[in-house]
Symmetry: C2
Subunit: 98 residues, 2 copies
């Protein structure tokens, strides 16, 4: 776990908001047709954010690089979900350190 | 509480280390002559870090600006201590949000 990189990833409010949305996909992405167990489709996250596709792609890439989310590809789609274990490990470390 | 600014402040490992040192001043700054209740003298933090005075000053200024530490001036000395309430409020918010 690279705690510096995780904190940097979290310093952006859009990235924190994506993590919050992914906590409750049923409520936040009810219109997704694919099973939400796979994760949430990048396009849906994009739609909800109102930001450009490239901006959201780069935020998702940052969150994935530091391990806070994981992705699953199926055909032309990319689905993202939280990595609960990594998020909890990070919070535990922050609570311990600070 | 400006959570974005606090996270940015904490993304630097030296700043996190200063907060860790200030958690236990008796152990980490036993050589300080002034009462540790006032806080830890900037010069002592500087010495312990092995970094330049201007680097440490700027790290302390960032931590103070976001409210994680507070300072007390006495003559030529500046003493710093953790703002436990703000640190706890930040951790509570992160635990809740993430």
């Amino acid at each position: 776990m690279d705690i510096d990189e995780i904190i940097k990833a979290l310093s952006n409010p859009v990235r924190r908001e994506i993590l919050v949305w992914l906590k409750d996909p049923v409520t936040n992405f009810p219109e997704q047709e694919h099973a939400l167990e796979l994760g949430v489709c990048a396009g849906k996250i994009n739609q909800r954010s109102g930001l450009s596709q490239s901006t959201i792609s780069s935020h998702l890439a940052v969150l994935q690089r530091v391990g806070l989310i994981s992705s699953h590809r199926m055909g032309q789609w990319a689905f993202f979900k939280r990595n609960e274990e990594a998020i909890q490990a990070f919070l535990d470390e922050m609570n311990k350190q600070l």
